[in-house]
């Protein structure tokens, strides 16, 4: 593809994917000006590396992949400056869910989740609920969780990026998963009969 055609495509990316990239970046870094810069860097990196895009994935997935790397770089820099250990959160780990014997309280145990993931992905209300639930997590716990589950960064690498120990990472991830699961169950799956 000639340079002119790449330029033309890049102008279209802004209109087609700019909002998606910006909102994802904002979810992650929370500062509009940082998110805007990150999206701009993503588009520029995409133009420079267009030859490597073989069309194996959709344009949006490819651009999101570049943005994820930018976000990880951002946190790598932040990890050197900030303590990412947040052990205060959810200290009792949903203790009301378990009997003193350590088994689930039956009324509080996990419910069946319907519909299947492939189906909910087409519903914008699901993504709004997930975004709301994520926003309820404490900032550092959310950063660790999203890096692991959304950006698919291996846990060893997260420990190195954020300078935290394996055990701290596991505790934070466990608590984040437990809280997010609970929130999704209450706000999406228990309501989903009204949304089908």
């Amino acid at each position: 593809m000639t340079q002119d055609k790449v330029q033309l495509a890049a102008q279209r990316w802004v209109d087609d994917h700019g909002e998606c990239l910006y909102r994802y970046a904002l979810t992650r870094v929370r500062k509009p000006e940082v998110a805007e810069d990150m999206v701009q860097e993503t588009f520029l990196a995409a133009v420079r590396g267009y030859e490597k895009f073989g069309g194996r994935s959709s344009e949006r997935s490819w651009l999101c992949g570049i943005l994820k790397n930018k976000i990880v770089d951002h946190f790598r820099k932040l990890g050197r400056e900030t303590s990412f250990t947040d052990m205060e959160f959810f200290a009792d780990e949903c203790s009301e869910k378990f009997a003193s014997t350590g088994f689930w309280n039956h009324d509080e145990g996990p419910k069946e989740w319907k519909p299947e993931p492939d189906e909910v992905m087409h519903r914008s209300e699901f993504w709004q609920t997930m975004s709301d639930c994520l926003s309820k997590l404490p900032q550092k716990v959310r950063d660790v969780f999203t890096m692991r589950e959304m950006d698919d960064v291996p846990s060893k690498e997260i420990c190195s990026i954020l300078s935290i120990s394996d055990s701290n990472l596991w505790v934070m991830l466990h608590r984040a998963r437990m809280a997010l699961r609970e929130c999704l169950e209450i706000n999406w799956f228990e309501q989903s009969t009204g949304k089908t």
């Binding site: 890049a10 802004v14 805007e36 420079r48 994820k68 039956h106 989740w113 997930m130």
Partner: protein, 116 residues
């Protein structure tokens, strides 16, 4: 406060093994005593999302699931959240209504033009 009586499977448990008759009750209590309690199991399940469990723990987990459909569901939910979370970035435009300013879009386009 007196400790609750040992009871890993109250009446009405929909798991494969529940206390539906004498031998099931014995089996449920045996499994309950020799596999991790649910509170511990959910922590182990979370760890298993980040590093593989040893074989003995994988076997204990499977046996525990016979008496506890809730822990099995919990593991399914962890995979459900992972599968959907991985797709979140591509659906981020549906997750909120935060607008992108026209100036920002114009700035991006300008930066791309000057990249020639």
């Amino acid at each position: 406060m007196p400790e609750e009586p040992y009871n890993p499977s109250p009446i009405g448990n929909p798991s494969v093994l529940a206390r539906r008759n004498w031998w099931q009750t014995k089996l449920v209590i045996f499994i309950g005593k020799h596999t991790p309690k649910c509170r511990e199991m959910v922590r182990i399940l979370s760890e298993s999302m980040d590093s593989p469990l040893p074989l003995t723990m994988r076997i204990k987990k499977r046996i525990h699931y016979l008496i506890c459909c809730w822990c099995q569901r919990y593991e399914e939910h962890l995979h459900y959240m992972r599968k959907t979370a991985r797709c979140f970035p591509e659906h981020a435009d549906e997750s909120s209504n935060v607008p992108v300013s026209g100036e920002a879009k114009e700035r991006w386009k300008q930066a791309l033009r000057s990249e020639r």
